[in-house]
Amino acid sequence: MSNPAYGWRVDDIDTDEMILNMGPQHPSTHGVLRIELRTDGEVVRAARPHIGYLHRCFEKHAESVDYPGVIPYTDRMDYVASMGNSLGYALAVEQLMGIEVGPYVQTIRVIMAELQRIASHCIAVGTYGMDIGAFTPFLHLLRDREKILDLFEWTCGARLLYNYNWVGGVSHDVPDGFVKACRQFLREFDATTYPEMIDLLIKNKIFIKRTAGIGVCSPELAVSYDLTGPNLRGSGPPRDLRRDEPYLGYENYEFEVIVGEGQFGPRGSCFDRNWVRALEMRESAKILHQAVDRLEKMEHTDVHEKVPKRVKPAKGEVYARSEAPRGQLGYYIVADGTGINPYRVKVKSPCFTAMSIFHVLAKGMYIADIIALIGSLDVVLGEIDR
């Protein structure tokens, strides 16, 4: 089938071109992704990603369970950063039902979301280094991610898929001593994890040579393909939902929106996107310091106070967005007013749109750079395929 969008025709392959298949089983494609490359030696002429290997019919399942029952399904979409998924869904349903959670629950949600952001960026930056060939920072960052997962396990019993953000509240209150443990983690993070990562990986000359200057995405292209989060900020526009449309009281926290600066090459390269993620970890730590201080002084209310006995919204629909670690996560929920199951839940996942820009950026790269490009877009196939 001829397809001008991908520059692909089966019958006009030159004799010196090769069709190479990366995946679906491949060490570096961040999940089950299959990329068909049409290469001329090492240079890629056209790339065509195939997704759908991890499609688990989330949207169909959501129509057959009730509103709170969808939350474990949402966790499993972006399994690396589960808190963000359930947060987005809970915010959407709360908007639909007109529920406003109290400041205590809001602060807990912020703490969990920011801890999850640091953990998710640990994986993003670590695996990116590993794809480039630096094995050691991955293990150091994972060691530090374990500390965050210990905090999560202490709070809600799960390390990866939490079912934490409920409609109207959270599932478990933070245990006693959580503030102290959180501060301990932040101390170690500021003292060792973050400086080590910058030193060992981000400032490494070879790493910079491998990533700066490839995969350059202009801001217009990024907006047209609906890139969000660190992918968009790497190209320049300082768009962050926590700043532009604050939710959960983010307007009361002081933090900077990190933007790619193009220090080592054109702005919007793979290095810039990775740079945004690395520095965002520090900003999340800043937010965490403030949130933890606030939590300590706040009076502890019941976290299940606003959780309705039966989630049965009136007829209506809403599209709610939140800033997940990988970009803007959007939930379009249609409620038909009868029954306790959602009528339609559509998820706009940030990695889905990030993957759609792949075939544009991949032209003219080397095969080694394809790996760097996928890593810099930070795709998790669970979210793309749902």
């Binding site: 089938m1 397809n3 001008p4 969008a5 991908y6 089966v10 997704i51 759908g52 499609h55 019919c57 949207e59 169909k60 908007q95 639909l96 292209l221 907006v223 047209s224 393909y225 609906d226 526009p237 768009r239 532009d244 209506g316 629909e317 809403v318 599209y319 967005r321 803007q328 959007g330 379009y332 249609v334 009528y343 339609r344 559509k346 706009k348 889905f352 749109t353 993957m355 759609s356 820009i357 395929d385 749902r386």
Partner: protein, 191 residues
């Protein structure tokens, strides 16, 4: 600009193509005639007062029980410049629906429309690559429709070995016992 003003601007330009406008909801929407959606999209993006440069989400919803039964394609628009949002909807018949593509306006619609076609069955005219994206290429049917029934077999494999199969096995039918017909389809014939 708020929603009524945006609707006024669109209605001003497209008159009868803007079929309806619902303002009393959380996120107001305007219903567009299917054949005009591409022009409305181009106008929404290029007009300096509207400047909807971002398509947040393109979803399809199936309403079989409405009167008349319809499928909707919902476009959530956002403008980075003016920070306003709007929702466009297109009502389509449930069978044989065709909508012009908005891929030329927002490049991200490419994959969103492929997903809508894959799961619902509406065809986007003018799309550069109208084929399935999430489901296997040889899947038959569009699963997210409300009247979807799982097939019994896919390429010789049982799709849903559940209560039905248990009952049939109890009735004596040989289930889960070979030989199976698992010849994969020939994908190279018609890409």
């Amino acid at each position: 600009m708020d929603a009524p003003a945006i609707h006024a601007k669109l209605a001003d330009r497209f008159r009868e193509k803007i079929v309806a406008f619902q303002a009393e909801t959380l996120q107001p929407w305007a219903v567009i005639a299917p054949d005009a959606i591409a022009e409305v999209a181009t106008f929404a993006k290029s007009d300096p007062a509207l400047a909807f440069d971002n398509l947040l989400c393109l979803s399809a919803v199936d309403y079989p029980k409405e009167d008349p039964p319809r499928m909707e394609v919902v476009y959530h628009l956002f403008s980075y410049e003016h920070r306003h949002k709007f929702v466009l909807k297109v009502h389509l018949p449930r069978e044989g629906a065709h909508v012009p593509t908005v891929e030329g306006t927002w490049a991200v619609a490419n994959w969103h429309e492929r997903e809508a076609y894959d799961l619902f069955g509406m065809v986007f005219d003018g799309h550069s690559d109208m084929r399935r994206i999430l489901l296997p290429d040889d899947w038959i049917g569009h699963p997210l429709r409300k009247d979807w029934v799982d097939p019994d077999f896919y390429n010789g494999m049982h799709v849903k070995p559940t209560q039905q199969m248990a009952e049939r096995a109890m009735a004596g039918e040989k289930i889960g016992v070979g030989p199976f017909d698992i010849t994969p389809p020939n994908r190279h014939v018609d890409e």
